[in-house]
Symmetry: C2
C-alpha cells in the first residue's frame, strides 16, 4: 500500500486538480495511468481514494471515489524535543524515526552542546512528509525550532521527561506516575548530552529524569528508545485501526 500527500485536498472535494512533485512522481516515476486508483492524505486527518481522470507530467485531475476522516491519535499527545545533532545523517535518521513511531510534534532545540548552526528546513520537511507516507499516517507532525532548551520549556505545556545518562530512575517506573492521557514532552540532549545548566533548567520545570539503561546511547538512539517505551506504556493511545486495515 502506498500513500500520497496532497495538502490541498479538503473534506468534501469531489473533483480535484493536483500539481507538484508528487504528481511528477506519480506520472513519470511510478507511471500511473488513467483510471488507476490512488490513496492520498492531506496530512490533516483525512484520507482519500482518487481515480485518475487526466494525467500529464505536472497535472493530475481525479475524482474522489471515497474518503475517511480519522480521529487524532492519542499518541499526538506525546511530543519530542531533542538537541540538534551535528552529523546530518544521524539527525535525518532521528527525524524519520520519530515520525514513523508517531509524535504530536518535533521540537528541534539548539542546546548548549549542539554544534550545528544551520538547519536545512526544506529538506527536513521533505523527510517528515516521506516518513508520514511510509508509515501510513494522515496527520503530519510539525517541526519547530528553538534557540535554547529554555525557550522550548517556556512554551511547552505538559509533563517533561528527560533522558539522562546519570539518572537512576528507570523509565518504566517513572511512567507509572504519569496519566495515560497526559501531554508529554520528551527531552533528549545532542551529542555530549545535556549540560549542568540545562539540567538545572529542567529541575525548575519539575522534569522527570530517567535512565535508559547502562549502555551509553547515541542521541538518536536515546530518542527512538524513549519514544518507543512511552508509546508502549500507553498502548490505548496507539491502538487505532491502522490505515492499511481500514475498509471504506
Amino acid at each position: 500500500m502506498q500513500l500520497f500527500y496532497f495538502e490541498t485536498l479538503n473534506d468534501g472535494d469531489l473533483n480535484v486538480t493536483l500539481t507538484g512533485d508528487e504528481v511528477h512522481h506519480i506520472s513519470r516515476v511510478l507511471r500511473y495511468n488513467l483510471g488507476d486508483e490512488l490513496l492520498a492524505t492531506n496530512g490533516r486527518g483525512s484520507a482519500f481514494r482518487l481515480e485518475i481522470r487526466e494525467l500529464t507530467k505536472n497535472h493530475l485531475t481525479a475524482t474522489v471515489t471515497g474518503s475517511v476522516r480519522i480521529p487524532l491519535p492519542g499518541y499526538s499527545q506525546t511530543h519530542i524535543a531533542f538537541g540538534v545533532i551535528k552529523l546530518r545523517d544521524r539527525l535525518e535518521f532521528a527525524i524519520e524515526k520519530v515520525v514513523e513511531l508517531g509524535t504530536g510534534g518535533i521540537h528541534l532545540v539548539h542546546m548548549d552542546r549542539s554544534e550545528r548552526a544551520h538547519l536545512n528546513m526544506d529538506r527536513m520537511e521533505l523527510l517528515v512528509t516521506a516518513a508520514m507516507k511510509q508509515s501510513l499516517q494522515v496527520y503530519r507532525p510539525k517541526i519547530s525550532i528553538y534557540a535554547s532548551l529554555d525557550a522550548f520549556l517556556e512554551q511547552f505545556d505538559g509533563t517533561i521527561i528527560a533522558a539522562h545518562e546519570h539518572a537512576t530512575a528507570p523509565l518504566n517506573v517513572e511512567m507509572k506516575s504519569i496519566n495515560d492521557t497526559d501531554r508529554i514532552g520528551l527531552v533528549v540532549g545532542p551529542e555530549g548530552g545535556l549540560t549542568n545548566r540545562e539540567l538545572e533548567v529542567l529541575n525548575t520545570k519539575q522534569a522527570n529524569r530517567v535512565s535508559l539503561g547502562s549502555t551509553r546511547l547515541r542521541a538518536e538512539t536515546a530518542l527512538i528508545a524513549l519514544l518507543s517505551v512511552v508509546h508502549a506504556h500507553r498502548p490505548e493511545q496507539h491502538s487505532g485501526i491502522p490505515l492499511y486495515t481500514q475498509t471504506w
Copy 2:
C-alpha cells in the same frame, strides 16, 4: 571517555604488546604519546587501563595499571533475530542500534522476503565493534547468520516474541507474562514483513505475536522499538553500573 578494543588482552596481563588497526588509529589519528593512558576492553567482560610505554605506527607496548572484570549484564539474555534488510545503510544502522541498546546476540536471518543475498561480514563485524566501543560495553555480541527463520528457531532456546503489523496484543501486555530472567528471542521481519509461512512456523514454536502500534514501521525501526521496550520492562537487567561511572 573513549574505549578501545583489543581482543588479545587477558585478565592478569601486566605488560602487553598490541598491534592492528586500533594501534594505527591511536598512534596516527588520535596521536597518543608515551605515558598517556588508554581504556580498553577485550570484548569478553574485562576492561583495562593501559599506560603507553612504546608506540610506533603499528606496535603499542603498555603496562596494565588497572583492570576490572564486569559481570555479564542481564540484557545478554535478550537476543534479536531479524530479516536481512535489503538497503545497506538501514541494515547497518539496525546492527549499530541493537548493539548500542545491548543484546546477547544478533541473529541475521535470510527470511522469505529478504532480498539481499550477500552480506559483507567483515564490515558488519567492524560495525559491532564500533558500536560496542561507542556505547562503552565490554561484552561483544556475536553475529550469526541463518538461511531461514526455521533454522534460527530450530536452534534457539527461549521465549520467542515476534513483532507483526497485524497482531493485536500490545507488547506491554505480553511482557507481563514473561519472567524477568527468561531468555528471549525477538523476531522482526525484513522489508515487506513476515510471510504467512513464517507466521505458521512461529505458531508451532508458541511465539508471542505483538503489535508495536498503529503506524507501519520500517524493519529497522520495529526492531529498535521492540528491543527498547523489552529492555525497559526488565530494568534490573540493565541497571549495572555503567563503565563510565566505575571507579577502579
